[in-house]
Symmetry: C2
Subunit: 603 residues, 2 copies
């Protein structure tokens, strides 16, 4: 059975019918990205993903990365596909062509990435992290740093990483112990130990560029004293040629539950010789620089989780259509009734429509989040710019935290649909679940995302982004009524109103002596906010479907029917549960906080 990745019809729907991405070409910035060009880009991305990336997914899982004599060896077949990916200029789709990017709208890049991440995201992490590291150089680098590093990174000649975590500094980045000592020539000698470094060492390219968080001698404790440095594996001469080894030593790789194709490295800097770095940005402003990158990095993780879920859904759907097992429920007593494909069984349909509605709502939400960035980039209106930026930041923890949580659920159901075969490595489903799991953890655990939503985003700019978001939801409600979906609109309106109430409750509780209770419900709060956001996207989709149904071709009508059913399922069978979750939040129960440490037991 052929593996599948993402539903092209659905991608096109979001791009062209929901977000009307072709309109971006009216701006000078995106003038060349007409609908036709966009479609060609997605075609190319799909081809590369299906033909080249997808077949490597199992190879990466089974062969994994090997650590031998300080070197990391990736599966042999990775090299060719890495080169193809870079030749196709997919590494820095949204970036400035001056530096090797393609200047593409983020919305379009996300659609292309839908295929890449769904096909083989452990592999895509090599170029993906390179892009993120390059973005740091572009945003904070001196002209010289950019000249030396940037194009080589955006074209994939060199790869990049991100060195934050240390054994005693995980979620608490501020506890890091890596030090930087200023040399006479203005460079710094870095020393420390970093762990969990994705793509930290490998043999696909000649150099690896590490942005490193470290503390300059004498700098304050905590996050206020952290600076960002650029540390190449091999030093780079002024003419761009490679110099000597920079004492970035890989001391081992992790054996882990999933993403075996990506090397998770422990790195020692300056352990034996001299590890030289240059300051990236200002002294002691390293955390600020990281935070500026975080929207993008966290959104990327949301896409990774989503990619696993999208593939898991389509695999399950294919399997359910082909696997014949048991009679139809209405013909159980008829001895002569034939066995049927399991898609005809009610419980399998329940799993499939649950997966479908989540996939569709989450895809829209991811593209919408990217689209806000595009809209921000093409408007000259400062208020609009601020509005788009605010909504984007507000939605980031939802994209990362909520979507990866739900993606994991979808991958789990994707195994259940396969029954026993779902547990067997011969089939793709169990790997997708294992790979998906880390997306709930890295780039800030989902608990951290929930704290970000409650602690930073909810009250940001006196709540304006929240009000803006609720305002957009109300526009969708009006559109739904116009499309004749009054029943769905009314149900959704009630949930939006209640979300407002819950948000107010959380905001005031977080400012009260009951602040700990509030944070014990930060994660449930993220969950209900995400539920409402997905319902919003599905209602929006259904409104378009209802409006266009009559005049559509038969094949489109079937797709639109699917849109109406996804919305119906989510609104009628999921939102009642969301309301229950909101009631639990409003209860504001303190058991989790009040219980003494010893009473948790286990001693």
């Amino acid at each position: 059975m052929a593996q599948v990745i993402a539903d092209r019809r659905d991608i096109d729907f979001v791009l062209h019918e929901q977000l009307e991405v072709g309109n971006l070409s009216k701006s000078s910035k995106f003038a060349e990205f007409t609908k036709k060009t966009v479609d060609l880009i997605i075609n190319e991305a799909r081809n590369l993903a299906v033909k080249e990336l997808l077949p490597l997914n199992k190879v990466g899982d089974e062969e994994g990365c090997k650590f031998e004599a300080g070197k990391v060896i990736v599966p042999e077949s990775f090299q060719r596909v890495y080169d193809l990916f870079c030749e196709g200029e997919w590494l820095a789709m949204t970036e400035d062509p001056q530096w090797g990017g393609q200047g593409m709208p983020r919305t379009v890049a996300l659609a292309a990435s839908d295929y890449f991440n769904g096909a083989n995201y452990p592999f895509i992490m090599y170029p993906g992290l390179t892009h993120g590291a390059g973005k740091l150089v572009e945003s904070f680098g001196t002209d010289e740093q950019k000249k030396i590093f940037l194009k080589n990174m955006y074209t994939g000649k060199w790869t990049g990483t991100m060195l934050l975590t240390e054994p005693e500094a995980g979620s608490d980045v501020g506890a890091l112990a890596t030090t930087a000592v200023r040399n006479d020539d203005g460079t710094y000698s870095i020393s420390g130990n970093k762990i969990f470094i994705s793509s930290g060492e490998h043999d696909m390219v000649e150099n690896i560029i590490h942005p490193v968080l470290a503390r300059i001698e004498g700098a304050p404790e905590g996050t206020r004293g952290i600076s960002l440095f650029l540390v190449p594996k091999f030093r780079v001469n002024k003419d761009g040629s490679l110099g000597e080894f920079n004492d970035v030593v890989c001391t081992g790789i992790e054996h882990k539950m999933g993403i075996h194709g990506n090397a998770t490295c422990s790195l020692t800097l300056g352990g034996k010789g001299n590890c030289i770095g240059t300051l990236l940005g200002e002294e002691n402003k390293g955390m600020k620089a990281m935070f500026l990158m975080m929207n993008e990095a966290r959104a990327l993780v949301g896409q990774q989780g989503f990619g696993c879920a999208s593939a898991s859904y389509l695999n399950a759907l294919n399997y359910a259509r082909q696997r014949v097992q048991g009679k139809h429920l209405l013909k159980m007593m008829d001895a002569d009734a034939p066995n049927v494909p399991i898609i005809q069984h009610p419980d399998v349909r329940r799993m499939l429509i649950k997966m479908k509605s989540l996939i569709e709502g989450m895809r829209s939400l991811i593209y919408y989040h990217g689209n806000l960035d595009d809209l921000k980039n093409i408007t000259d209106n400062a208020d609009e710019k601020a509005k788009y930026q605010g909504m984007m930041e507000l939605l980031t923890p939802i994209i990362k935290g909520y979507i990866t949580d739900r993606a994991f659920d979808v991958c789990s159901e994707g195994i259940q649909v396969y029954g026993g075969y779902g547990f067997i490595s011969e089939y793709p489903q169990e790997q997708l679940l294992r790979d998906c799991k880390i997306t709930q953890i890295y780039e800030g655990t989902n608990g951290i995302q929930a704290m970000d939503l409650l602690g930073r985003k909810l009250g940001m700019n006196k709540g304006k982004p929240v009000m803006d978001l609720l305002g957009e939801m109300n526009k969708t409600i009006a559109a739904a009524k116009e499309a004749g979906l009054d029943d769905f609109a009314a149900d959704f309106q009630a949930v939006v109103n209640k979300l407002g109430e819950v948000g107010m409750h959380m905001g005031t509780t977080a400012m009260s002596p009951k602040v700990l209770n509030a944070f014990a419900f930060a994660h449930p709060f993220m969950e209900v906010t995400g539920d409402v956001a997905v319902a919003w996207m599905l209602l929006w989709r259904a409104s378009i479907a209802a409006q266009n149904m009559e005049k559509a071709k038969k094949k489109d009508q079937v797709f639109y029917e699917g849109q109406l059913k996804s919305a119906e399922y989510f609104i009628k069978a999921v939102l009642p549960v969301t309301l229950g979750k909101m009631n639990a939040i409003l209860n504001n129960n303190g058991a989790a906080i009040d219980i003494s440490e010893d009473a948790f037991g286990g001693k």
Copy 2:
């Protein structure tokens, strides 16, 4: 950090304070199982589990089973521990001493198994399946079959399996194609291919006894024509010595997500020579025999999932107490505030109390289910016997389906508490999740369990078991009020009443033209029933805690505080969500059923 398995104080609480298992010794059947004896048994089980089984868990996962030249080789260290387990007479704890059992109450055996399953359930599957196969021989075998096989199985000299599944007959057992041809001497020649056979082949014992489902030539199609046969790997002579190889050939083992220590085999019977079996029970009554065993087999799977969850919780708790990361939330702005163990962070506490309350509720439910069997076995009153049997059957899909679903959730949270370390194979958490996953699938997927609850158990005996169960819950409500827990009792009462309403709705819908809608909500119905059952157990526990708090020793008071907090959390923060799920069920939405197959997309 030492790994842990199960909380002894909690086990003792359920055994002695909640179920008062010592009272069973008032019966002649269990006279020797006084409280003191019970405690000694649990001590021994714990010792064996902690010292011998637990250290092999990672070995089993990493070494796994090897398939070489038709033979399956288990990790070398398994043999010694298997022998120790059998010497300790743990294989058939509840069975008749005449056949090598220990005649132990099931409740006590479950407490011992709590340690075994939590320590290393992939290993325990070898003796566990042997016990199940032996039980079939005991229940349906002729005197001769018992004489030849039973004691050798219950003592673990030979192991057993269960040969049901075939490539085209998974959930639909009735589709199986294995045939049996009667020979002149009354034996049968069996031929067919079986897959997914746990412990199907290995090198720890000299013989393996396979109960096999097959169809006798000329028998009806479907489940009505299935018979059960006893097929040894090596034939057994009348004097008990081993005869020639019986042509049960292992053709391969599966590579799978978890339970690597247990060999999942494909077996071909009668492919080359002659595979001889003897009829076990009556012709064409094979499915009936299997169903009689199902309560026990399914409950065992619930325990396996629970074992993973119990270990995952205690590991997470230990980790949260020791891992220092970040400042206390109330001192975030204080630069001099020390970093604290993560158990002090609200979101970590939320995860821990969620895990704790589920573990405790599920442990009580599992023991309660076993206790019903004990109570049934010691009463002479036919009505009581029927009552206990009915409630046990009603709860079986909850024990298997609901508990393994929640166990998987707990294992997933258990990874989150560890952060990045949770994903690393050096730590126990990721294996527990992988091992846990199959418990949602085998012995009937959880979708099948939900259908069993709705289709068979809800209306069984005109709903008497349901009424009995609700009656028991009402007794607990009365006891809670007596203990001064009026608030909890009132909340729980409302949910029990609503469960009655939902049950009625499901029952009538399942008998109406909307039957497909009903079955599309079978799984949510199982979920809410399970939630209520867990809340019931927690309220019961809390009532005991409240009653005994004042006079208790300090250490017990802390434990009782934990009981009150678990109940409070579940009632105040989980049951509102359960009510939301019930509202979703009552909506009875048909989107999952009405959507056309094509509208699921993906084409």
